[in-house]
Amino acid sequence: MDEGEFFGLLGPNGAGKTTLINVIAGLARADSGSASVMGADVVSDYRRARRMLGVVPQELVFDPFFTVRETLRLQSGYFGIRRNDAWIDEVMQHLDLTSKADANMRALSGGMKRRVLVAQALVHKPPVIVLDEPTAGVDVELRQGLWQFVRRLNRDGHTIVLTTHYLEEAETYCNRIAMLKAGGIAALDSTRNLLQSLSGLELRLRLDGEALPQPFPAQLISQDGALFVLRLDDHRQLELALARLREAGANIMDMEVRRPDLEDVFLRLTGREK
């Protein structure tokens, strides 16, 4: 991952996304190989590496003994920062937490607890921010607010590493994406290249009969009764396909044309293509 990137880590459950993050964060030891954050090895130079890194964990964890402000002050102290209130106030304001500053962590809703986790990861202004499925189980409003804030941090020069199950989030925000499968990298490229690697269109057709006129000017990918999924090179080929149907007298009951998205790349690479 390069400095200043908005980097996406995608992969099915158990692919090793969180394990990779845990190795970077020092929560797990790698069996082999090494990792470093801004040039600091996560094992031999762990103190510097951890100062560079802010991690928003996947699990919604909190310490029920403390209020939001106490939690953030303690977290600052763990990173060796005293009197961090100005920055804490700023972070809370951006995350819409100011009104909850003196509320006990126990009393917060799930979404609010998630915001506190984000704030905790930012108390020491880390140049690298890792978000492990930050929007899992989070309502739309918070999701949008969160992305706005993360994007701003990225624009301000922070490197962002994101894991997510929501492919459209990765598609929208990430410049570069690594797809993991069974602990290995299945693909690593810019989001644009990955999407371009799947050229063409997908045509879904429901006809009144269970057979396509032969020969048919498009590649059949799958058929389920009268439902056909076809791959087209471009819109010109769509035109040809429709003309062929008309000519054969077939009636179209339902039709959908789709550009491939990351999900298709993902499914192709993880070998579960429909």
């Binding site: 845990n22 929560l27 100062r51 106490e70 303690l74 102290g77 920062i81």
Partner: protein, 251 residues
Amino acid sequence: MTSFQTLLHKELLRFWKVSVQTVAAPVLTAALYLVVFAYALEGRVRVYDSVPYTDFLVPGLVMMSVLQNAFANSSSSLVQSKITGNIIFVLLPPITYLEFFGAYVLASVVRGVSVGLGVLLVTVWFVELRLHAPIWALAFAFLGAALLGSLGLLAGILSEKIDQMAAFQNFVIMPLTFLSGVFYSIHSLPAFWLRLSHANPFFYMIDGFRYGFFGLSDVAPAASLAVVSASLIAVSSVCLLLLKSGYKLRH
């Protein structure tokens, strides 16, 4: 240094915020022991000729409270953090294993000694306490609390569930404290149990602490101090090795 101070502060806040449960409750328990045992046994048991039974009992109860609460503090804090997952808040920052160890153990010492002082303040009205050599009493209180704080940290590192911790507490800590001579002098025991008691490090902590009050003990206080110090070095070394390796904390 700030990391260490903050972690210590957090550990102190953690028990202080629920001090009714962590300080007041054990003080009440110790006071109840004193009332019941003193009523049942005063005049029937004579340990040292010059010391009435109730007087004899008080330092033992104080020290027992110090030890149990020092253990409870580090062990429950760590195991709760592991179970709830908020342990990552202290694993992600650049806190060294020495700072981690120091903060947890020192907070345990503060809790243990606070409860011990509380017990002393409550029970001192029932007895006429002598203070033969307070330095000895203090030395045993602090070293004993540190030993049990480390032992609690060790138990917290090893336990992954509350019931494992409870087993450690009920099958190791409780028998060792109860069979340490808090309620009797081990010299009144049959030979086998007497020998066994000498293998119990808790016995030396209680006996040495009591020496600070009465100037009387079953074992020379210097010998007890040596046993307690050696135990502290052994347990804290194991703790530090495990913390350094990240055993059961960093997978």
